[in-house]
């Protein structure tokens, strides 16, 4: 055996190993990771875009079918980032292979970079695939492509971090499903994915402003059509705020070893 010592300030190879491992897991479950969300999104187009949308007028000057595209992408982005990331870290905890990660010369930051980076990358790819699928149904224009990508990456990263936290918190598979099903999906439906919150009656409109998802969808839709429910600056600030909150929670998890180390 060699007696070389290999101590670097940053274990890039370790990050890459985790990243590759997670991407390989997605390839093995390609059907579940990519095809299912694309089919689900297409069904939304058929139902909301074609069946209902044909009876609706334009929203903020955008045809209804095109109006819902950013919201649909966000809906998939939220749920897939959460499930990818939470499952990615929960699985090693559940089957016990986490021992190797914990005993490796890898920092908390590098570990998060590997897991969350892979989950976010998968979600961004998925978002772009759904966008491409959408162009088959409705004509789409993107006014601010750079901002569109920025919102896509920021949101994917934020929800992957959130998923990472859930994956560490969860004590069972039910809890893993709990947050996406019971919190994120309702918030997204009530967050203006399929309508502008201006269409809501007064009290509900004010109520909606407490829903953080409203800001995420609104900012993303602005990057497409230049119209938004709330100011784009506020959207960006809200996105960064949630990101910072998730980062703080992850930092606390590693500081205390919460549910990772006894």
């Amino acid at each position: 055996m060699s007696t070389i010592t290999h101590t670097r300030a940053f274990n890039g190879r370790g990050v890459l190993a985790i990243f590759r491992f997670e991407m390989a897991r997605a390839r093995r479950t390609l059907w579940q990771s990519l095809v299912t969300p694309v089919i689900t999104t297409s069904l939304y187009f058929v139902v909301f875009g074609a069946a209902i949308g044909s009876r609706m007028s334009e929203v903020d000057g955008v045809p209804y079918g095109a109006f819902i595209v950013p919201g649909l992408i966000m809906l998939s982005l939220f749920t897939e980032s959460l499930s990818n990331s939470s499952f990615g870290i929960y699985l090693p905890r559940f089957i016990g292979t986490i021992y190797e990660i914990l005993s490796a010369p890898i920092s908390a930051f590098e570990m998060v970079l590997g897991y969350v980076g892979a989950a976010a990358a998968k979600s961004v790819i998925l978002g772009l695939v759904i966008l491409a699928t959408a162009t088959l149904f409705v004509p789409i224009r993107i006014l601010h492509p750079v901002w569109m990508l920025a919102f896509l990456v920021l949101t994917a990263t934020t929800f992957s971090l959130f998923g990472f936290i859930i994956g560490i918190w969860a004590k069972g598979f039910e809890q893993l499903q709990f947050v996406p099903m019971l919190i994120i999906t309702p918030l997204t439906f009530l967050g203006g994915a399929f309508y502008s919150i201006d269409m809501l009656p007064g009290t509900w409109r004010i109520f909606s402003l407490f829903n953080p998802v409203v800001y995420l969808i609104s900012g993303f839709r602005w990057s497409f059509y230049g119209t938004s429910d709330v100011g784009v600056g506020i959207s960006l600030a809200a996105t960064l705020g949630i990101l910072a909150l998730c980062l703080a929670l992850v930092w606390w998890i590693f500081r205390t070893g919460y549910r990772l180390k006894t």
């Binding site: 055996m1 060699s2 007696t3 070389i4 010592t5 290999h6 101590t7 670097r8 274990n11 890039g12 190879r13 370790g14 890459l16 190993a17 985790i18 590759r20 491992f21 390989a24 897991r25 093995r28 089957i95 016990g96 292979t97 021992y99 190797e100 990660i101 914990l102 005993s103 490796a104 010369p105 890898i106 920092s107 070893g257 180390k261 006894t262």
Partner: protein, 316 residues
């Protein structure tokens, strides 16, 4: 605070005052001090729940110590964890494997995770040494329990560690694998790797280890060279199979620690290994003088297992 003596340079692992109290209040380790010498095979013996796995897990970085200090090759396991962990390979007790990964994929992952550049030649050697080369493209879920154990060893060796921890390596392992594993451990030791193992197969610790530490209820009861431990604590027993049964031990033999067994047919004499050479001839002479006839005699030496049981019960 307990601090490792910095002059103890020949130790590859120095543990000082290591204590671990779990959140449940269970005190798994109570002020353990231990020096592991470079290049030795060290066996940790103890019943289930004694704290062996906790000790290993702290050194490897899986469990956070409550207090005390651990140095690996002079580096602190908490402050300089990159330096310490990159030197250590761990084979866990349970068969924790990624079912859908291939053997080759998983050892490559392990090497990368520990920050090393890919080295197909090294990984091939490791897999061949463990008779896993033919299975390299198989998914781990298709392998038998023994093969999965080999995969875990291969993963631990993928990053060329200088120290290898084997936690209960032969639990539930067939004879062939056990033999292969011990051969591998000997080869690793010959190449300079320090090996720390826990095992319930005490005869194997007796066969393999250079030194033995006995752990009971979170305390390290004794650390000793294996041969010294056997000599110091090993008891010998002489059994005389008498021609005629005896009802009581004659008063003339009261100086010896004798018992009558098997309905008075066997006279047993228990003595310490250190008294060897003095006690038996005197006893046999005396028995001859008393005219007690015997048709056969045998002696037996207590195994490490006997020593272990007596040490643990002594403290209980």
């Amino acid at each position: 605070m307990d601090r490792v003596d910095p002059t103890a340079v020949q130790s590859v692992i120095s543990i000082a005052g290591l204590t671990k109290t779990y959140a449940s209040g269970l005190q798994a380790l109570k002020r353990v001090d231990l020096e592991i010498r470079r290049g030795e095979i060290f066996a940790l013996l103890g019943p289930n729940g004694a704290g062996k796995t906790t000790l290993i897990s702290i050194v490897c970085g899986i469990v956070t110590p409550t207090s005390g200090q651990v140095l690996v090759d002079g580096h602190d396991i908490l402050r300089e964890y990159r330096a310490t962990r990159s030197r250590i390979g761990l084979v866990p007790q349970e068969l924790h494997t990624d079912m859908f990964e291939t053997v080759w994929g998983t050892v490559r992952f392990s090497r990368g995770l520990f920050g090393l550049a890919p080295n197909a030649a090294h990984l091939e050697k490791v897999l061949r040494d463990l008779s896993l080369w033919e299975k390299r493209n198989d998914k781990i879920m298709t392998l038998s329990g023994g093969m999965k154990r080999r995969v875990l060893i291969a993963k631990a060796l993928a990053h060329e560690p200088q120290i290898l921890f084997l936690d209960e390596p032969t639990a539930g392992v067939d004879v062939e694998l056990r033999r292969d594993m011990w051969a591998l451990v000997r080869r690793l030791r010959a190449s300079g790797v320090t090996i720390i193992l826990t095992t319930h197969y005490i005869d194997e610790a007796e066969e393999m280890a250079d030194r033995i530490g006995v752990v009971s209820r979170g305390e390290l009861i004794v650390v000793e060279e294996k041969t010294a431990l056997m000599k110091k604590l090993g008891k010998k027993q002489l059994t005389l199979h008498l021609l005629e049964p005896m009802t009581a031990i004659p008063a003339a033999l009261a100086d010896w620690n004798l018992t009558l067994n098997n309905g008075g047919c066997d006279l047993e004499y228990t003595f310490l290994s250190s008294d060897e050479g003095k006690a038996i001839p005197a006893l046999l002479r005396r028995i001859g003088e008393l005219g007690i006839g015997y048709r056969d005699l045998n002696t037996r030496q207590s195994s490490l297992e006997d020593i272990f049981v007596s040490l643990v019960s002594e403290r209980a």
